[in-house]
């Protein structure tokens, strides 16, 4: 049986095993997104990149081993490449976690966290289902425009988000968020006024204000 060495750990596997499966056997974590073993192995996301010691890159999910081979799965350049690949994918994703039923069970969100990609809103971690969103009850929650990472502590604790983790800066997400605010009857000025409390001295607040300005039909920003 071929011996596979991944990040220095050696495992014996059946011929034809993918590097991803071998890595799992060796206890080495490789991020992945598109693969569903046995169902889809088309390697489209390229989040699972690994390399040989010589620097050749492969997607771990569909590279199969038939002889003794060695791979690197953990290195700063690999993480950077995976992150960039993922960011490109995320750029096409319509982020609207506040409307999404999956919430915490979303693999995009968990991968974003794993790869350190910012731009996902607090709503992705919110314990309330979309039907119980505080905004629907007239409570101005800043979760839609605030960076996730706190497990939506305040909402979980019976309050609303005040934005302490800082603003989302992706304009399309902000645009959809402000659209949602106005659909639910919150005027842009009150959102900005609340956001000011934590964000007033941040450069990134400028992006929020300019999107807000456009949302309210000019004026601000």
């Amino acid at each position: 049986m071929p011996k596979v060495k991944i990040d220095g750990r050696v495992v014996e596997v059946e011929p034809g095993t993918t590097v991803l499966a071998a890595a799992e056997k060796a206890g080495v974590r490789i991020p992945r997104l598109c693969v569903v073993p046995g169902l889809y192995e088309g390697s489209s996301c390229r989040v699972c990149l690994v390399k040989t010691p010589a620097g050749r890159l492969f997607p771990a999910c569909n590279y199969r081993v038939y002889r003794d081979e060695e791979f690197v799965a953990t290195s700063p350049d690999l993480w950077e490449m995976r992150r960039v690949n993922f960011e490109l994918l995320l750029a096409f994703h319509r982020i609207e976690c506040w409307q999404c039923e999956r919430k915490g069970a979303c693999s995009l969100v968990s991968l974003a966290k794993e790869l350190g990609v910012e731009g996902i809103p607090v709503c992705s971690e919110c314990p309330l289902p979309p039907s119980e969103c505080l905004l629907r009850r007239g409570i101005l929650c800043l979760g839609m425009i605030t960076l996730a990472g706190c497990e939506a502590e305040c909402v979980a604790g019976g309050g609303e988000c005040w934005g302490c983790r800082g603003p989302i800066t992706r304009a399309d997400v902000l645009e959809r968020a402000f659209k949602r605010y106005s659909e639910l009857g919150f005027d842009v000025t009150s959102v900005v006024s609340k956001a000011e409390i934590f964000w007033n001295s941040l450069d990134s607040f400028g992006v929020v204000k300019s999107v807000a300005g456009r949302a309210s039909g000019g004026g601000r920003g």
Binding site: L134, R137, E153, V155, G157, G158, G159, W162, I197
Partner: protein, 429 residues
């Protein structure tokens, strides 16, 4: 005569924030200066013009240690100013939140100050010498924090508290569980006191308060006053919240950014020691026994630490009782978050809260739903001058007893300052 700097404590360890204590002058005319090192942060002025619903959330940032005191006192002031009446359950949960904070802050401070009462130089040494007691104290603290998370979402800047609302839905069985946990805390504290009793020695036994006037919130009947509409001074004077300025004179310290206060031209004190004296009649007998175990002398400012311990044990009973009372009728809790709009009205209101370190005052004027004026007086501001006169008396007292060693005098003054549990961030809000 030029003053001679006798002692200078640039920093008193185990005190929240940085404090300078200078002791100047000759034998007979010693003078203590207590001053905060922090810069003022202008909370009162910077919030002018903001919607009042935002105000409590920002005011709670005055202090990370007693954030609930500022949060709730701010909420109370707004409700008074706008004539809003929270539902009784909301009020009760707010009192529980306030109580948990007093309990936890007191307890942690006892732990910070314990070396002073056991002749050790710091908490690490204490933890090594008495690992069992130390780990029990840490575990009690953990239980208390667990209760606060369960009832209020989080211990610091509790997200569930708001103007006329309590946002966290909570079930009767959760309240029962919290009550049980707190009951356990009370029992564990009484057991622990028996062990502490063996070690507990006052650093200045027999020292007496040179200025025995104190101030607390006026209790309605026999209920612990987490909030109140009146102040009560130890001379029997009762002052309506709205008239606090007639009784309490707030002055700027000449040598620091902090303020200090006087009552009838003299210093007074606030905090656990004041509360235990004022509310002595409410103490259940099993809690009273702790006074004996810790040999508490209410006239000795050092014994504020013993008072904190006793009050903690007492509050765990008070709070578990409140939670039990609340449990059967809590079904409505999920609807507490119903208040969507705080009216854009005008008015003036003074919130009075019992903060862990003493009386806290938030005074607001609201114009069209926005904050127009704010004045905040914190417990450490009220204690500031009292710390100085006690310090001066303490040095004279120690010298009369033949203590002249500078190092020892410094240690004693530091222990005195610590006993007041001052919070410097609060004093330079």
């Amino acid at each position: 005569m030029a003053e001679r700097l006798v002692l200078s404590l640039e920093e008193v360890p185990a005190v929240a924030g940085k404090v300078n204590v200078y002791v100047r002058g000759e034998e007979a005319r010693v003078r203590v200066e207590f001053g905060a090192v922090q810069e003022p942060r202008f909370f009162e002025r910077s919030l002018k013009g903001r919607p009042v619903t935002q105000v409590p959330w920002v005011m709670s940032r005055i202090c990370g240690v007693c954030s609930v005191a500022h949060l709730t006192c701010s909420i109370e002031a707004i409700e008074r100013a706008l004539g809003l009446e929270p539902e009784p359950e909301v009020r009760l949960l707010r009192e529980v939140a306030k109580g948990i904070e007093i309990l936890q802050n007191n307890f942690v401070h006892v732990l910070m100050a314990i070396p002073d009462f056991t002749g050790l130089s710091n908490v690490v040494e204490f933890s090594k010498r008495y690992p069992k007691i130390f780990s029990e104290m840490i575990s009690i603290n953990k239980s208390v924090l667990g209760v606060s998370n369960r009832v209020c979402g989080r211990f610091i800047h509790m997200p569930s508290l708001g103007v006329a609302e309590h946002g966290k839905p909570i079930s009767g069985s959760e309240l029962e569980a919290a009550a049980k946990e707190l009951e356990g805390v009370g029992q564990r504290m009484r057991d622990l006191a028996a062990e502490l009793s063996e070690l507990w020695r006052s650093p200045a036994e027999g020292f007496r308060d040179p200025a025995p006037t104190y101030c607390v919130l006026d209790a309605a009947g026999d209920e612990y006053p987490f909030f109140s509409e009146r102040l009560r001074f130890s001379d029997g004077t009762v002052v309506e919240a709205g008239s606090y300025k007639e009784a309490i004179e707030e002055l700027k310290s000449p040598y620091s950014n902090a303020h200090y206060t006087l009552y009838k031209g003299s210093p007074f004190y606030v905090g656990s020691r004041a509360r235990l004296q004022a509310y002595a009649r409410m103490l259940p007998p099993e809690v009273r026994e702790l006074e004996g175990a810790l040999r508490m002398d209410p006239a000795n400012p050092f014994d504020n630490v013993a008072a904190q311990y006793i009050e903690t044990a007492w509050l765990s009973e008070v709070l578990s009782g409140m939670l039990r009372e609340l449990a059967p009728s809590i079904r409505k809790a999920a609807e507490f978050r119903a208040l969507k709009d705080v009216p854009a009205a005008s008015g003036e209101g003074v919130g009075l809260a019992t903060a862990p370190r003493g009386v806290l005052i938030h005074h607001y004027r609201v114009v069209n739903g926005r904050l127009d004026y704010a004045n905040i007086i914190t417990p450490t501001v009220m204690n500031a001058r009292h710390i100085e006169v006690s310090g001066e008396a303490l040095i004279r007292w120690a010298r009369e007893r033949g203590l002249h060693d500078e190092w020892q005098l410094k240690g004693l003054v530091a222990a005195l300052v610590r006993a007041y549990d001052p919070c410097l961030p609060c004093s330079v809000h």
